[in-house]
Symmetry: none
Subunit: 420 residues, 2 copies
Amino acid sequence: MRAEILTIGDELCRGEIVDGNSAYLAARLWDLDITTCWMTSCNDDEADLVAALTQAVSRTDLVVCSGGLGPTEDDLTVDVVSKLAGVDPVIDEPARARMEAWFSRSGTRVTEIQLRQVRVPAGARVHPNPAGLAPGFEVMVHGVPVVCLPGFPRELTAIHDAGLGRRIAELREAAGNVERVARRIYRAFGRGESQISSACRGLVDGVPGASIHYQVKFPETLVKLVVRDRDQAAADARLAALDAGIRERLGSIVYGSGEIETLVEKVTRRLIESDQAIATAESCTGGMIGELLTRMPGSSKVFRGGAIVYSNHEKTRQLGVKEQTLRDHGAVSEECVIEMAKGAAQRFGVPYAVAVSGIAGPDGGTPEKPVGTVWLAYVGPGDELGTKMLSWPGARDQIRLLAAWWALKLIDDSLPERTP
Amino acid sequence: MRAEILTIGDELCRGEIVDGNSAYLAARLWDLDITTCWMTSCNDDEADLVAALTQAVSRTDLVVCSGGLGPTEDDLTVDVVSKLAGVDPVIDEPARARMEAWFSRSGTRVTEIQLRQVRVPAGARVHPNPAGLAPGFEVMVHGVPVVCLPGFPRELTAIHDAGLGRRIAELREAAGNVERVARRIYRAFGRGESQISSACRGLVDGVPGASIHYQVKFPETLVKLVVRDRDQAAADARLAALDAGIRERLGSIVYGSGEIETLVEKVTRRLIESDQAIATAESCTGGMIGELLTRMPGSSKVFRGGAIVYSNHEKTRQLGVKEQTLRDHGAVSEECVIEMAKGAAQRFGVPYAVAVSGIAGPDGGTPEKPVGTVWLAYVGPGDELGTKMLSWPGARDQIRLLAAWWALKLIDDSLPERTP
């Protein structure tokens, strides 16, 4: 089964935004054994859009579009696709109801222009949008299914996850001759991509249908192991055999496998499961660890609060760091972060606390403590204590993000394994 | 002048990497008054590549390709382009010399396979690669210039900057009829895209060569005003006239213009310029405002610290919020955020403080205070005080981000204008 992905928008063709939707969709199709042969982008131009769609349905078996579903005159997708499908655009009533509820919250009324956004071609299969106003839809054009989605990535992915993915899988099954895919994604943090790929070198050699792929999502790296076979059980078995190998090679660098759970999600979940409260003490990360630990719903069960202590004075006032410690060792020191973590645990009245102090740059480095030097400490129940030093010569934003992730990693490593 | 950008590679069509090259190239072309009408990606497949190139030269005046210049059998660009241009591939001797020098550094010899990388179509204009081994080149196919570049972004941009950009400008000038571009970008925060575009409706009507574009980068919207004219001065003059109109229509929603300064940058800069220190008091944002206020280099000059007070107890302990206030009005109330902001200013000893408390969801909403209800307060020098309530039914991450940006906006609005 061959597919074309069509993304629509002047902002794409002017280079104002990078098209991440095409890659997202191509990866989802690839997982379903659908080969994306073409990815095309065009402007909000009726003639070009007609040409692109006409060509796409003539050379592939499935077309997935994104963009052009907004409320403005520039947004042409519904009209063009309706015309090619030989139907009229109609209001999708459930989407209209959602829009009205949305606007009534802010006391405003839905205008004629905004209603443009909830139109679909008559007879289309509607894919509701859990994350926005414009619904997705699917309609046949010249005998080929054409799926249209909004251009906002979060809406596009929400529609995919809510049911479009299953629908595309159905279309694929109906086409027959499907190769089954067994795959696993490993989330690796603590080493760079080249070290991770070196560690995995040769792993899949000689294993039929197996391949390994790396994707850097700083500060972590996703390692994807894929095995394809006509027979799902055979693919699964070969994947299971490779799984042991990859875990042996990567060890504790892999903090999880599966697409869903990030390190933030994992740490929050484990804290909730173990019913342990935590507090933060942050200098160079400025609140980022707190932000991460409150990102997940339910985090209020375990996150008590934090002290952002950007100045030395605040380190002393809020956390009781000794002035002597700051004088003797400086704010970026093992001694200081230990006192910060202990101070946070005590003052917030929690068993777990994590502290970070570092030089994020671009200024403030010295020969002994260059930019990128970061000290971390955590404390846990029963006087548990650990520290870690980073020295990573990156940019300010990367140093801060890396430090915040290491804080999570220290907590993750120190939380006790659950006995099942 | 119309252009097509063609990016080549299985990894693109499997969604393993996001194609940033197309956006990079499209932005460079747009600046030269070249309209990118099509951006196409295809696999490393000879028939598809021939089809894509043949179509591209038939519908545009310039084709820029990236990818497929590597040493492996998968890399087909040189052979396919040579065939379409009716010439043979030849070794580019300067590139071969560079490659040999490169390999001799590591004591290895250039192999036959590696030499594939330094081939170009006979008679092509070569664009040396300052950042890698494979040179770029330009050749005529069916009367249309086709530029081929390596797929590595670093190499592609290096070739562009080293001379390709100037060469494309030459091609554009030779085509004649060049329109000059005057443009300005306005950063707008505080209203949604549809309200912003409503406010600007009709602004550019009847102004020759003028257009207005909107780009949502949640939680802000970029408004781009563009005027094109053969004469740069004429374009500049019409842009200046429109500038007054857009500022009148959008008022304080526009917090800045120009491509570079974000709200975070602006607030940090203005705090530094006015030499005023600030502290934060955060509940539902969990540290995000502190993270934003410490993102820029130099923020330590003005950011003193923050209190992350996720629990009621911490609101009282760290900031002195009265238990009575929490009982009578709840943590998400105007009264509470005022006490939080005052408590932060007093305890951190700073003139400015900002406080936020809200229900980010998905749980915790009530009929009176649904998810998305957020209260903000700020205090400034001399008992200055302001509050703001948000009610925005979005997702948890969006509610938090919106709240954090509103905190910045309140500070921005309250900082005194500098007298020049």
